[in-house]
Subunit: 162 residues, 3 copies
């Protein structure tokens, strides 16, 4: 089962900052780590939203976590209405998703990722473009890296773009 | 050519529910199956829209298939206009896409996937969040699984997130 | 390190036509090529926007490059506002992104891709749907291919969907 062993490594390029995709990324990552995969997450572009620290709050007035929530709300208000009528259970879905989407839950997923020793990286180029520093992120960000380093760390496993 | 043999396995995490991405997912899946790949599709979040059955219709009044069409329309009305002016052929594109986007076509792609023995799974967690049961899906859904099982089934092949 | 050697091959299915995802795709592709990966990019659907040639300009009045810019602007005007308030630096981000998003920069990334011998393909099916011909693309498009051929060329390496 050499192949299976080899594939016990999963790397996610977390590009998206929308709530649903962040949940998908962290669910996949923590699920893999729970069955002993070596997991790497490389946050880039909008994905950097997921790893803001408290210090980053003053940048945005209402705080970083409120920002995620606002983003989600903004997102939900802007997606096609039909998307909310998913399976005809829009209020149910909306309520549940809002409950699911509270800050604690996303925060918990990140905490689980950290507890499971998932390796978290931030993208050097995106940070340069956006003028963000490593200090603006949660301390668990292991390293600021570029594409070549990401490829090196993720070599020999799967790479997924979300 | 051990590597090539090993890679004759393709797994798609079908997260997206937009028409264009569903078409992309099924085109890739059926194309791979046609050249003898072992193919697995794991439907999650919005992607679950693709596998609703007729029983699911009463949930949404107009029927599941109309729903997909409405979703597409909703989607198209909400994407940036410039996106429709793609190559300056917006009416052409729009008409063609609408023709392509009729329910039968997406349904045909799913039927092709089934005929080609592509393995279809639905995501346990998404179903819990949304309150959907296996009975709400087409009967060809092989199994309701979570991330660990998905990783097990897809081990030794490529994993793609759409 | 047979595995690492094997993985020195990266293939991107470039489905998205949004500026940020195109930048992500080309950054990943050129970064990989720079560290000696064999890189393949398969442009499909909206991704075809990235490889339009000058001849394609007359289709859209303002020119193909202006079109990309317009698309970007259209895109930005249509994403949730909160997305622009990213880290509270929306004007900064917007200005920088606009600077980054000028045609030259995306063009430069494509030029870098070509200089690095990245293999560029366009999707046969999308072209049929949209009524686009190979002559509408930049001459560096190596071949018009379908899914089976793409799978063949990308076999033994990573496949990423953007």
């Amino acid at each position: 089962m050499n192949d299976v062993v080899r594939n016990k490594k999963l790397s996610i390029i977390c590009f998206s900052g929308s709530f649903d995709k962040l949940v998908a990324a962290f669910t996949l990552a923590t699920g893999a780590a729970a069955v002993n995969y070596e997991v790497h997450i490389f946050f880039t572009f909008w994905g950097l939203n997921a790893i803001k620290n408290d210090k980053g709050r003053h940048f945005i007035g209402k705080g970083a976590l409120a920002k995620i929530f606002n983003f989600l709300m903004g997102g939900i208000n802007n997606v096609p209405l039909s998307r909310l009528n998913f399976f005809g259970i829009s209020p149910k879905l909306m309520n549940r998703m809002m409950k699911k989407s509270n800050v604690a839950t996303l925060k918990e997923l990140i905490e689980a990722a950290i507890a499971l020793n998932i390796n978290l990286y931030s993208c050097e180029m995106s940070m340069n473009i956006l003028g963000i520093k490593k200090e603006d992120f949660i301390p668990e960000i292991k390293e600021v890296i570029g594409v070549p380093r990401f490829l090196e760390y993720s070599a020999g496993g799967e790479r997924i773009f979300i």
